[in-house]
Symmetry: C2
Subunit: 800 residues, 2 copies
Amino acid sequence: MGVGSSMNRVDAWEKVTGQAKYTADLMPQNLYTAKVVHSTIGNGWVKSFDLEDALKVPGVIKIVTCFDVPDIQFPTPGHPWSVEKAHQDIKDRKLLNRRVRMYGDDIAAVIAEDEIAARRAADKIKVEYEEYPVILDPEASMKEGAPLLHEEKPGNVIAHTGFVLGDESFEEAVKEQGLTIIEKEYRTQPVQHCHIEVPVSYAYMEKGRIVIVTSTQIPHIVRRVVSQALGIPVGQIRVIKPYIGGGFGNKQDVLYEPLNAFLCTQTGGHGVRLELSREETLGCTRVRHAFTWKIKGAVREDGTLVARKYVAYSNQGAYASHAHAIAANAANIFKQLYRDEKVLESDSYTVYTNLMTGGAMRGYGIPQGDFVTECVADDLAHAVGMDPLAFRLKNCVKEGYIDPHLGIAFHSYGLKACIEKGKDYIRWEEKRKTYEKQSGPVRRGVGMAIFNYKTGVYPISLETSSCRMVLNQDGSMQLFMGATEIGQGADTVFTQMAAEVTGITEDRIHIETVQDTDTTPFDTGAYASRQTYVSGKAVKKTGELFKQRILEYAAFKLKLPKEDGPAAAAEDSGTSGKSTETTAWKMLNIKEDQVIDKASGEVLLSLAELAEEALYSLEKSVHITAETTSHCKENSFASGVCFAEVEVDMPLGRIRVLDIINVHDSGKLINPGLARAQVHGGMSMGMGYALSEELLVDGKTGRPLNANLLDYKIPTAMDTPGLHMDFVELDDPTGPFGNKALGEPPAIPVAPAIRNAVLHATGIPFDSLPLSPQKLVERFLKEGLIGGEKGAVKGGGTHV
Amino acid sequence: MGVGSSMNRVDAWEKVTGQAKYTADLMPQNLYTAKVVHSTIGNGWVKSFDLEDALKVPGVIKIVTCFDVPDIQFPTPGHPWSVEKAHQDIKDRKLLNRRVRMYGDDIAAVIAEDEIAARRAADKIKVEYEEYPVILDPEASMKEGAPLLHEEKPGNVIAHTGFVLGDESFEEAVKEQGLTIIEKEYRTQPVQHCHIEVPVSYAYMEKGRIVIVTSTQIPHIVRRVVSQALGIPVGQIRVIKPYIGGGFGNKQDVLYEPLNAFLCTQTGGHGVRLELSREETLGCTRVRHAFTWKIKGAVREDGTLVARKYVAYSNQGAYASHAHAIAANAANIFKQLYRDEKVLESDSYTVYTNLMTGGAMRGYGIPQGDFVTECVADDLAHAVGMDPLAFRLKNCVKEGYIDPHLGIAFHSYGLKACIEKGKDYIRWEEKRKTYEKQSGPVRRGVGMAIFNYKTGVYPISLETSSCRMVLNQDGSMQLFMGATEIGQGADTVFTQMAAEVTGITEDRIHIETVQDTDTTPFDTGAYASRQTYVSGKAVKKTGELFKQRILEYAAFKLKLPKEDGPAAAAEDSGTSGKSTETTAWKMLNIKEDQVIDKASGEVLLSLAELAEEALYSLEKSVHITAETTSHCKENSFASGVCFAEVEVDMPLGRIRVLDIINVHDSGKLINPGLARAQVHGGMSMGMGYALSEELLVDGKTGRPLNANLLDYKIPTAMDTPGLHMDFVELDDPTGPFGNKALGEPPAIPVAPAIRNAVLHATGIPFDSLPLSPQKLVERFLKEGLIGGEKGAVKGGGTHV
């Protein structure tokens, strides 16, 4: 089958039958259970604990408080470590914090024989606090006199960066005659990832080392951060990642593994489990950063985008986590998606507040930034009476675009083709016209949004990945990746890639799902839509070497004539890293598990025969393996578009998505079936972001108001229309198999496309997410589109 | 510390605190339990089962009988597979057998929700048999008309081999005048290994593959045999070996893993555990082969050994297992230990009987063969009135000896020095004289026995081993061996070896204890005293390559001047197998975790810095690892001696070992402390073999009579005197670190040394083991040394 086929997931059977083992399934018997004690204030200090009653609870083993943990601050984001101090992540939290910076901050932990004892004891702990006012908004947090959340960051500003692209300032540029200028403020809300499996881990000690089994996207980074947090060497820590039930970026943060590891050391190495509740997951882990954008845009009558200028405030919440990387990435989409003829001024602040901590979430700032660029695009087009699709085609970046700061280019450019395909599907022109003049309470519209997205993090950060292959006695292969399967299908596409490169068929490639920092190769993990591209290169490089070693053995076994290579080392050719003795292997190839003559295609030997001989030959026994690192120093833009058709029931404030399509330019698809599944999931996530999802907190205390899946609304199947998609499959020359990013993109353009469809339907340019009924009704009332007499509906109509 | 130091075991803390995880500790919850149903006849056929009552037992999941298993015969011994059909192991059993060949043969299995249900159901299964007479003795089994146990082996003889070393026959040779000729029959008994942890495993399915976690010495061989037994490819099977509680060769057989794997497939992949009881372990696994030896020896008056001739019958029991390899190895000791001036005639039969199956046990035939050579030596010396030590020095093989068939030599020869040391310790001459003329019922004597022992199985069979090393971010190392820690200290000595070769200190080397056929490199396992020698070579070879790769990176980081190597490939030098770009690394070395200038010793860089840079460098990121195979085509003899001083209480038939010493020539000791522990254990095992251990069966049915540790007597601490030992540490040029075999040797010479001391004390040359009170009293009565009137003790005396 190889690359390009829609083979079934390698883990399909496992997952459908429930045999797949997740962290909780692997827990041995007799683990202790830990429960974190969370602060019940949003800003202040822990002054003291009264543990007396708690310690009396039968089954309590130990209670550890913020007074007991190492005085070490550590970072949590899932970034490759930087050997340059200036680029290292911000170390701003301890295992447990005396300084409370959010409601639900981690201040103590109970270790008990079971869950019930742990919860009972946690409830009986009394805490005395010193309390400060709670600040939830970045601009308020930056004001003079606001309490500092972290002493080392004056004004609570983590970072402030910007750039100007153009030769003059925005103010200069807009002196031009005849420009239409808009000035707007957009807001995006904090949302949560809502992965099915909550953060869960268990830790135990083995030969003086700490072993942590955890649901994470980034086992090697967890290892490093636990080392930093506990102040012990990396080699003393082992992290094992079983199957995981989703992550979406939340598990690209090192959440509770360091605390779990520490608690294990506090029991003399007895195993301790730490599983968050859904409430803790929503209220105490990470969220997608809320942003405020103050933006001006100027457009000519002909639709030329002349200039934009904005200030963005990224609400970081209590701890730095991924910090300014999100705002910096969000800024990229402005320059990378549209060309301002004269100038683009960008200015971004990332600010501590007492909100939940912002972290990585699918799209990493781009869903927010794209919402704004795509609102602005429609609002500017609207302002000059231009078709928004035409506006985009006129102003969006063209083939040959290169990011002026990062140097990333489209090595394959499919954006326009995507727009064409999506336009045809949704019947854009026809519907734009049909819905032009509607009256009545229920109106329809079509909208669109485009995006592009870089693949992996190069050159901002390191991209490195390793792969290991081992030949089994039956000629099948064990495939080991440091890259992680987190539900997205990575194991399946790596299997296809390995088959493509080596000629061993997929059914005979056994990929290891469990990443174990002791045994599987190094890779930074699942994030940044990087794995098929970056880790795919490692598969390709390793596969080529592995195949060479197999063919070298085949040449030996087949007694092909030797031609002396540059460094003859007969016995070592299989595994020692020395050069091969002969180049005879180049006359051979592998096809469908058989060694063949490259020229004639004749089958010479089965891999099963070869493998058995290689292991057991009395003349030359060699265990054929290969392991290489691919250091990736390339990048390419993926891109795409979403078109949505909506029906807005204005009196009910209800938006029905009637039809929706994403069209993606992600290069060659490794597995079209999995690509479709990836897009499905992303579109559904985008719809939740657009319509219903928002983490709400009490304004006085910062206490989460809807940290549960009853009150926090993610879309259900009933809320979701048929999700359509298409692809523009260009062969990207930098991708290992012509491929580029697809993991995060599908979630990006959905919300602005829906917002723009609502604009088309109702004429109202909403400026914040989600487009909730409350928000819509208030605005429609204000605009006089509904209401008037006492709740009566202007225009009437039937609403189901 | 490195090689030669007595560092603490790397698993000492784990094992002392109980944190070390053995198979049973790792079992997840909700496994099913399987119980094997054993035959209650010793020879015959299963005609039918009545399962009705058994299936009614609540909790029974399934009952599988010998009518339900694949019609595939498979082998069980832990040998490297041979690609030559003639050398492949004998395939003579099925997962469950209709043809019953021993009492307790495996005829069915119950799978139930728990142990109790499984046992209850097993008890309720009714079996109808066709029954044949039971044959327990090889010579009886070879007689015409005896029922055939395996159709394909006429006369029940598995193999019959022999050799003649000399130019004339024994009969010709003994025509010489003045020879003293003895003719004797010696017997050794079946004994069991009595490892602490019984055979235990559990199996489950994962992605269509079978995973077996098991207490084994040979995970890769288990993988292959399960594949053969179930008729599925090797790649579909994964075997994981946690810590194991001893094996001593019993777990060098593939015991119940294939059945466990099969039962798992019969539940749709649900996990199934199979743990033997102690009774099953003693009665249904493997034993050390019982032998009968009929031997003649001829000696001149001056003590020259002129000729020997023997026929040996190895009692294989019901199934082939290691089969004739044991008898063939036992034959080796005759030629390898003494030189017969004229001729040695060797003739060995391995014969099926209805006894428990003979398998590998520490010494692999040599404890039996050495018992006979050393009895014969003393008996010949006794016959001509010569000091047995002098007899040995005169006739034993000398430096320069090369086995005429195998080509194995002493590359270091310490046998004579061992004898010297032991003789001095025991004060041989003084005591031989003192105890010369004793009377009374309690008499003392000193005896000795020598041995030699080849290291590993080359050239009889394949010796291959792989090793993998990975550099952690903190400059520490993960070390992976296919070789297995089975309690003997392998992990500790491999750690020392890796430290010695790489310059990374032992505290920063993290060896993986768990062998996993998916992740750890290939190695055939723990047996044949091979690991420090054969697998040690893999550590050395891999360590050298690993160090080179580290130093290559150091040269890059330190910007050492490049000298173009034969095949410049800058980026690949770390892991791709290409040749290095430069030879600058040769100017560097590693000492105590620091990169130093080789010439000056100046510290240039810590490995921690280097490792962090290597992983995270934006210029050159490389995950430094190394993995190589060492195909070992060398061997060397280890040797040694045991001296024992005993007191024989003849009326009680009781032997007290007053003093005992083993002196070993095992080359350089990697870890003297562990070497001592190894010798301790072996001496204790040898004492059990000498004095008390014997598996007894009912002569009519073959039913084990003492398959429990109450009636089967292994020595306790109370039975054991101070165990003394010494070493002759010659540097063996073929050993990776000057070392050679030590695992099995300590158990070999103890029994004959004690037997010879008893001969010295009493004048009675016992001809079988064990030297049990019953046997001694009968013989002393017969010889008139005790008894006479009605149980009265001749000579009297006080016995405590």
